[in-house]
Symmetry: C2
């Protein structure tokens, strides 16, 4: 993968973001910041980075896929703010244990799971209540 200015712009934007962003959001932010990066490139870059594990991708209930620069390579879950996208990584054993137990009890194999939490972070919930 070559080093290009649009790729570093995308990575920078993701880094400075406090959490998850959709491809469209990132594209907007880049454009607003004056960087000239095509939406296509944003999609392609995020997709490539997600495949190679350098970002975390997850699909929201409304169908948009959101991405975030991910700290650990370990399997983990997220607590994502619906408003600002801030996220907290949750390394958790209870969920894995639950998943494995349920799979075994019902005779399922090769079980994977998705588990994400969505809410309003401290900052966003206080600004909403005003």
């Amino acid at each position: 993968m070559r080093a290009t200015k649009q790729r570093s712009a995308i990575v920078d934007a993701l880094d400075s973001a406090r959490g998850f962003r959709s491809a469209q959001q990132l594209h907007d932010e880049l454009k607003r910041a004056g960087a000239s990066v095509g939406l296509t490139t944003v999609y392609r870059t995020l997709q490539a980075m997600a495949e190679s594990g350098r970002v975390d991708a997850l699909r929201r209930d409304d169908g948009e896929t959101i991405y975030r620069r991910c700290g650990s390579d370990e399997h983990h879950h997220h607590l994502v703010c619906r408003d600002c996208g801030t996220s907290v990584e949750l390394a958790n054993d209870e969920v894995e244990a639950w998943a494995e137990g349920a799979a075994r009890r019902h005779g399922f194999t090769q079980v994977t799971h998705t588990a994400e939490l969505y809410g309003f972070c401290r900052d966003c919930s206080s600004s909403r209540s005003s």
Copy 2:
């Protein structure tokens, strides 16, 4: 909501299905079974039933939304077969407790969660190994 033959056909198809089905799948099955129901109607009916809680909807990672006739009105999760769509309902407290605890620890409010398990059921994993 009026009783129409297309609606009962959709409900019947969902009932006889062993698990989750997408709108497109249901439409195909209905057409194959000789029923004449428009894809639009399948979408509208499933959406209406999901809103009123009569079916359970969840979005797969590939973006398709799948539906299933749901036994309980209670909040619960699913163990879904990737191959045949069969699903098991899981009423579980561990996940809820984990979600609430994580939310509280990080100051998030109005937290909802998604947690679904995907794998191969006993039947499908044995037929795959052959």
